[in-house]
């Protein structure tokens, strides 16, 4: 089988300021961030011939392309949520369709459409195709917003494996420690303590306020190039060892209730198996990972699904935080994660690039491999990067 391994490198990254209210349009942020990522890479905008994004962004790629003066594209696509557009970028580059592709995400999710507002959005747009199951079968009973949908499965994980708040709470604690060193983190505060966590209100029981990553306004862009073009650019290339998605039987976004076992992340298991197969590495080789901490309990669930510990051992893995800190068995979310940086897909890929470049604000020594996972609770996507 042909492999995409090492055919593509990340050559440029950029973010706008992340905030609770950008005061500007997604269009404006998209243009700024793409130009900044191209500058970071040393790739002239006119040499970028592919553009990928996810479907939930507000601004159509055609307008962004026009504003940036990018004359010709030979590839453009919208992929589903998360960082899954990266797989489209890698595919287009590995297939020889493009030389340089930019992945961008620009969203005013803090001040504008929040993730909890899907019903209102649907009502306004009369768009039942967006997620018919939610509107038809969940909303009449008041199951609304992703925290509620996710909480149903998360409760069973916590209960079935005896994972307690005094274990899960170390995820927000460690993320806040990492975020407190990252000047870019929108929700940078003094580091939390486990006592802060245990005192945090159960807003959607079993989820506490400090379990839930806040939405932000902001944009990210990542320029990827064919590997043979990457070595001569401005920055150290960060090679894509593997990129994969995972979609499981009876899968839905946060509400895969028809499965026998609703207490796991089978999509993540599928994705991880493919990542390890393609990259030719295993969990023992990886010591830094950017995990999807949109809801903190998804972190121990992911640590299990990605093979860093056995089933049901994720809570014990997190307890005390030492495994998760820089220098621990698996340093996670070294930029602060979605919990501290704010929830925006792609920003965790950029932190992984920083770790390999040696430019993180919580830098590990000698990082050769880094893993990124997103899409917990739904179709999962991830990437393994290396120096």
């Amino acid at each position: 089988m042909n492999s995409i391994k090492d055919t593509v490198a990340i050559v440029g990254v950029a973010t706008t300021e992340f905030s609770e209210d950008s005061g500007r349009t997604e269009y404006s942020m998209a243009c700024e961030v793409i130009k900044a990522a191209a500058d970071d890479a040393g790739v002239p905008l006119e040499d970028i011939d592919g553009m990928v994004k996810d479907v939930v962004d507000g601004i159509d790629a055609m307008y962004v392309q026009k504003a940036l003066g990018m004359e010709t594209l030979t590839y453009s696509s919208d992929s589903h949520w998360g960082t899954s557009p990266l797989i489209n970028a890698v595919t287009a580059l590995a297939a020889g369709i493009c030389s340089h592709v930019v992945y961008y995400r620009s969203a005013n999710n803090g001040s504008g459409k929040r993730a909890g507002s899907d019903f209102r959005a649907a009502k306004e747009t009369k768009d039942e195709s967006l997620d018919l199951i939610r509107y038809d079968l969940h909303h009449p009973f008041g199951l609304m917003g992703p925290a509620g949908s996710a909480g149903i499965g998360i409760r069973r994980y916590l209960r079935d494996y005896g994972v307690g708040a005094e274990q899960v709470g170390w995820v927000p604690v460690v993320c806040s420690e990492h975020g407190s060193n990252n000047p870019h983190a929108a929700f940078r505060n003094a580091p939390l303590t486990i006592e802060d966590y245990l005192a945090s209100e159960l807003v959607v029981d079993p989820l506490r306020r400090l379990d839930i990553a806040p939405e932000v306004d902001g944009a990210i862009a990542i320029v990827l190039s064919r590997a043979e073009l990457a070595a001569d650019l401005a920055k150290q290339p960060v090679y894509v060892g593997a990129v994969a998605m995972g979609s499981g039987t009876n899968g839905e976004h946060y509400s895969s209730y028809s499965r026998d076992d609703i207490a796991g992340l089978p999509e993540m298991e599928l994705m991880a198996a493919e990542l390890y197969r393609v990259a030719g590495v295993g969990p023992d080789d990886i010591h830094v990972a950017q995990l999807d901490d949109r809801y903190a309990p998804y972190v121990p669930m992911q640590i299990e699904a990605l093979g860093f510990c056995g089933k049901g051992e994720g809570g014990a893995f997190c307890e005390g935080g030492d495994n998760l800190r820089v220098g621990g068995r698996l340093a996670i979310n070294t930029g602060g994660g979605f919990l501290s940086e704010g929830f925006s897909h792609g920003v965790n890929v950029i932190e992984a690039v920083h770790q390999i470049r040696g430019t993180s604000t919580n830098q590990l020594d000698g990082v050769e491999l880094a893993m990124v996972a997103t899409g917990a609770g739904g179709p999962a996507d991830g990437v393994i990067l290396h120096s």
Binding site: Y135, M144, G148, V204, P206, Y257, S258
Partner: protein, 140 residues
């Protein structure tokens, strides 16, 4: 907004026809809850869908269920996510005795009394003239 003004949300209210699940809501209105089942391999289809993922048959039937079940999981919103509901607001996932799982609410059971495996049975509640909800009360 008061409880009286807010209506339980459902696509039918926006003039959008719900498609695959129409017979489910009709059965609730008739107080005889039915679930979709593959006519070929008898696999339950929940959520409703046009094809059986087990055998790819497009023939299905709507079969009355006993209405007996057990609690599989639940969430409790400290603040209800919509003005049609009281706070705190609890949503449950019920394992129906026949197999399919449904999202619903409980009647007469406090959130702190819920446990996985708690036996429940269906009760019907007219939200208004458009919608009848199937909810669950403690059984036995």
């Amino acid at each position: 907004m008061t409880q009286e003004q807010a209506k339980v949300p459902h696509p039918a209210r926006w003039g959008v026809l719900y498609r695959s699940s129409g017979p489910l809501w009709d059965s609730a209105k008739e107080r005889n809850l039915k679930m979709q089942r593959c006519a070929s391999c008898q696999n339950w289809l929940m959520p409703p869908r046009p094809m059986c993922p087990n055998c790819q048959s497009m023939e299905s039937e709507w079969v009355a269920v006993s209405g007996e079940g057990t609690i599989c999981s639940w969430v409790t919103y400290a603040e209800a996510p919509h003005p049609a509901f009281d706070s705190p607001h609890t949503v449950v996932l019920v394992d129906l005795a026949e197999g399919p799982r449904v999202i619903s609410n409980v009647v007469g059971i406090d959130a702190d009394e819920l446990e996985v495996g708690l036996p429940v049975r269906v009760v019907y509640e007219d939200a208004d003239d458009v919608l009848t909800l199937f909810k669950f009360e403690r059984s036995a």
